[in-house]
Symmetry: D2
Subunit: 379 residues, 4 copies
């Protein structure tokens, strides 16, 4: 797929995701962590305008003087950002206007891509990966927001609960392993600084923890016993009255979960989703096992199947040796978040096609669980 | 105007108010105190369905089994209410569906009204007054929500800033005055218990405080000097960094305010709006004057013009002697709020036609100011 | 009792109250609303120094340059106040130093009182009433703070639970009644502006509501039923998980309460104490009755016994007609609090001797209940 | 030093630290993170009673039936804990009673130690190290609490600001390094699991960052520029209005800091103290350098002087490979905290004698700074 094709297919995929939405859905924002679908559509577009068109296209005229203000995110070097928790209040520009904005930018981008500038190509690739990240967020954010509607709305055609087949353990021996991204393909800055890590011998599960396995933890009072939990995890359980994964609810004596296709009964064999790091750790502790580190995961990943759940590791999100912050606004990208977050490896059923890598480092705060997060055990 | 005509004209007026909105505007809710336009349209409809159609129309079939849950408000006796601060998250039912709901209920209501049941007529009148209250809220809530949009959106054709003409004081003598609603016309329960109140001699201003008068307070550091303020008013000023009425903003050295027609320069002669009770009191203190009580206001109201601003009084919202809570759900209406709120008298430019009375008791918490609240002085 | 005697006896009484305390008790502050015993001892002393000695005694030398800063309270015109919620952090000056401070000021005051200046005498009387207010707070604040200690400490010899004897109702007829303080005796500014109030006919209970009467409300699920409660009262019940008066606790199936003499079983016949306005109102609603207004209370008070509990009225704390704020710092005294608080009338078993009047207006926020607050009904 | 001598000297040292305190100081608790001196004295004593005397001494009678409840800390398996933020409210037992408690337990402990049980000896050693940890906290907690007193109290004789002498960098080459505690000496569980770590070549500073170096960062608007800060660090700076290290204050144009000996002018050559991880990271970023990892620190520690400041590393506090949670209550000790905290290495001027090790892993949340925390740079 050349750059133009990649650009077109990624841009189209964002629109495809929204095909069942009504205009009223596009503005939903149920918490500070999530953004409305319309904002994702506009922000990913703004990225191309701001970092590419303005710098590389002669006489480019921005679509609207205030869109930079409305649609940037954490890029502090680009002026004041609109308060994150008020994105749901932007009824204007409306959906139609945002779709116009996408068209306007796409036309300019396609003309620019044809000029074949290498620097631009690199940024276009970056921009499409950025949009793919937002595609996954668009799905998970919308799921979270619309879940608040008591009507259990069906809103997307995502098959959330595949069934895992494998069993048993992968055995890995002690030694030096190569970690981090190498080669010419695209990666984010936080995967760079390829380096060696010495690992002790370890075993890692071939399968993800299933719903029925996790249910056994729930039903043996795992959420009522502090001894399995981190001190802060336990405080979170008590304060937020947590007693099951996000979206789980017992109705008429049966455990159900809310999916983008509406509410369903728990599928016992499919991998558990929407657990926090605290829950993943507590489950491992209850089993007398542990979570793998991100290095163990990367070293062994070719020996098991992954891709349906983001997998919590017991590694904090920190810089690799030699990590450098890129100059300029794009440099703000990843380093700012390297504290208080845990690394997840793999990908999920909401990850866009052609957006996964074994070196990919996803990261979230340990209490968050609105992504499709699951559990792989190690020992 | 007979009942049927009143019903039709009130119901139509709600729709008229929304004529410039796009669908994305209908879900806006910028704080717990305000509700989205769509919710107002649905809740006022639910009132007719719940309190009239279900009880008085044979074989009435509710429009949707969960609308009772979604669209009731503080009527606790009608089951769980949806959390107030999450009304903005109800993208479904969409605007079209809510308009269908209105039509469905209107058709049934019109059939029922034709039957000429007297009890029903009374409830219809109550329901239209209830809807008129929500019409004013629809305007002020939407103004508050959409004000958060940095684009200074023009969204309604409301002429907010009339010019006051009169000057001077009305002098009133000591004596017993009759307070409360008498006669056959409609009133809310909190106006009942007509009774005598003994008043000392007092004077009350013929005019409302104007923008330029209030500006003098702002510019003489009224917001920086605790001596004019209630202790809790001062805490509010410091905590919320208040330094002018809501919607005021100094731009390029000039004071502007946001109106439903967009942002404008301050009109010096028109009455100040969007001040809290704390601000109204502090202004009066700064002038060496005071706010009237609600009894003084009612006793003298025929001797001045009112109707462009809700006027803060120095009366707490409490029961009149002999106030009775009506039995059943409608009885929850007013008594529950008789603590920590101050009475406002009069009406505002956002009050619906045929919805004002000299005995009307409006009430809000002393820090709130998103209604069109103004100041009349007394001494 | 002449001024000197009154001064001496009031000053001594403050010390008497503390006779069972150990030094560690003197610094306790369990919430922002309460102050440590040491602070009360120092603040009441500072009042005499600041408002009398500095102004009226030649060559008076303040005891310590920073005590003005440490021990003033809400008198904003006297410079920055120490944050209210950090009074418990002032371990220095220690108890011994504060007692020295009291002696130092007392000696100066006694010399000054002998000079017989009339203006000074008035201020001394005010200062002793101010100290008496703080004596009641010293008792109730300490009770609240030390209640947090799981050891159920016995700390004071206060007989909290007298038994009420009378029964039945006082009947009052419609008419104009004289309200407010008249005559030469001492009163606070908020009792002034004697004026006439027109009252409808009413009945008021001869007795206060007893523990066993209140218990019937508790045990008939009064705290589980929103229909008895103000909307904000109900929110308070739910948020703070309120299910009985403050200090009540069910132990081994029996209701007990914490008193300054330690924990005891409920005495059924003594008047209920430590209820909020919300609870008092809900109880009245449950009985199908109501609370009296402060005017009804004052008009009828000679016909029943009062003095063991502060009695919640259904009157908001507002200015009397003609209320004037006194010039200067002392003028900040009362007007600043005339919003969001309810009036209590009477006195309590913790009120100092010679400190009660039928015109006395006590006031607290409706959710507070750490004073000895009780309930008298009206209809 | 044999076990008995170690026990006696550690126990005495706790008392020595308090020799300048008045009884009122012993209860101070200015935030949830800190505990009062009295609590530290009692809690360390409770440790010996709970984990040794009750289990190993025949017929031991606990000093008081509720002290277990009052003085345990996070050891959840030992029953309900008193709310952490209410330790300052425990005026009873008083200081005298707590000193009696210490004597009572010491006498029993000395009799038990003489019996020469090996298991007991191990626990005694653990208990003394536990008490030494609390000695450092006693100093830093008291400093934090008493700093709130506007009188700038002098309360301890601690020489806080030594002068550093060395300069330049230690150069370390790539390779496998041995990490973690080996040998027979005492260590905490989190130092165990000795293992190899592969390090890239790195340089580490011989000296700690000094006050004057840090001041250059302050004065070049380091606290006003988001580009040096983690996203959460920046949020912390804005929310808490941070603009200098804890205890720094500009007075009359000069930077001063509060020490346990009172307020002093900044000493330019001594190492900066009381900075958070966010500040340490931002400083490093501003210098174009970075913080070392805990592995780099341990691998190189013999080549520089350390001990006056706890040194922030860029390592999250996580389990070493093979880390095992000890069975029983003592096992709760360290694993529960292995999330959201950063490792500090070294020791500080407040660390007790004979309590430092090169393998010691201290840890705190990244925003905390009331310990004597400083900065060593790496590249």
């Amino acid at each position: 797929m050349n750059t133009r094709e990649r650009y077109l297919s990624v841009r189209q995929y964002s629109l495809d995701l929204c095909k069942n939405l009504i205009k009223e859905d596009f503005g939903l924002q149920a918490s500070e962590e999530v953004s409305p679908p319309k904002w994702h559509l506009a922000h990913t577009t703004w990225f191309f305008e701001q970092f590419i068109l303005i710098n590389y296209m002669d006489d480019y005229k921005v679509a609207h003087p205030q869109f930079n203000f409305l649609f940037n995110s954490y890029y502090n070097t680009h002026g004041n950002r609109t308060a994150r928790n008020q994105r749901g209040l932007m009824s204007r520009p409306g959906v139609d206007e945002v779709l116009e904005y996408r068209k306007y930018v796409d036309e300019a981008m396609l003309r620019l891509i044809e000029q074949g500038n290498e620097e631009v190509e690199k940024l276009v690739i970056l921009g499409t990966h950025h949009e793919q990240q937002h595609q996954e967020l668009l799905i998970t954010d919308l799921k979270f927001s619309i879940w608040h509607n008591p009507l259990d709305v069906q809103v997307m055609d995502v098959h959330e609960y595949p069934t895992e087949k494998e069993n048993g353990w992968v055995e890995m021996s002690e030694g030096l392993y190569q970690i981090g991204h190498r080669g010419d393909g695209f990666c984010f800055d936080n995967e760079l600084g390829p380096h060696k890590v010495f690992l002790q011998p370890f075993s890692i599960g071939k399968n993800l923890v299933s719903n029925e396995e996790y249910l056994a933890f729930v039903e043996s009072d795992g959420y009522q016993n502090p001894k399995y939990w981190h001190d802060e995890g336990w405080a979170w359980v008590k304060r937020d009255k947590i007693d099951a994964p996000l979206y789980w609810e017992k109705r008429d004596g049966k455990w159900t979960y809310y999916t983008l296709n509406g509410r369903e009964e728990i599928d016992p064999k499919s991998p558990v989703a929407h657990v926090s790091f605290y829950e993943a750790s507590a489950y491992a502790m209850w089993k007398g096992l542990r979570l793998p580190t991100e290095f163990e995961w990367e070293a062994s990943n070719e020996r098991f199947k992954w891709g349906s759940r983001w997998e919590w590791t017991n590694s904090a999100y920190l810089a690799y040796p030699g990590f450098k912050i890129a100059p300029g606004a794009l440099g703000e990208y990843n380093g700012k978040f390297m504290v208080n977050q845990m690394v997840l490896r793999g990908a999920s059923i909401a990850t866009s096609p052609n957006h996964s890598r074994a070196t990919y480092r996803n990261f979230f705060h340990p209490h968050l669980r609105w992504q499709f997060m699951g559990i792989r055990l190690a020992k």
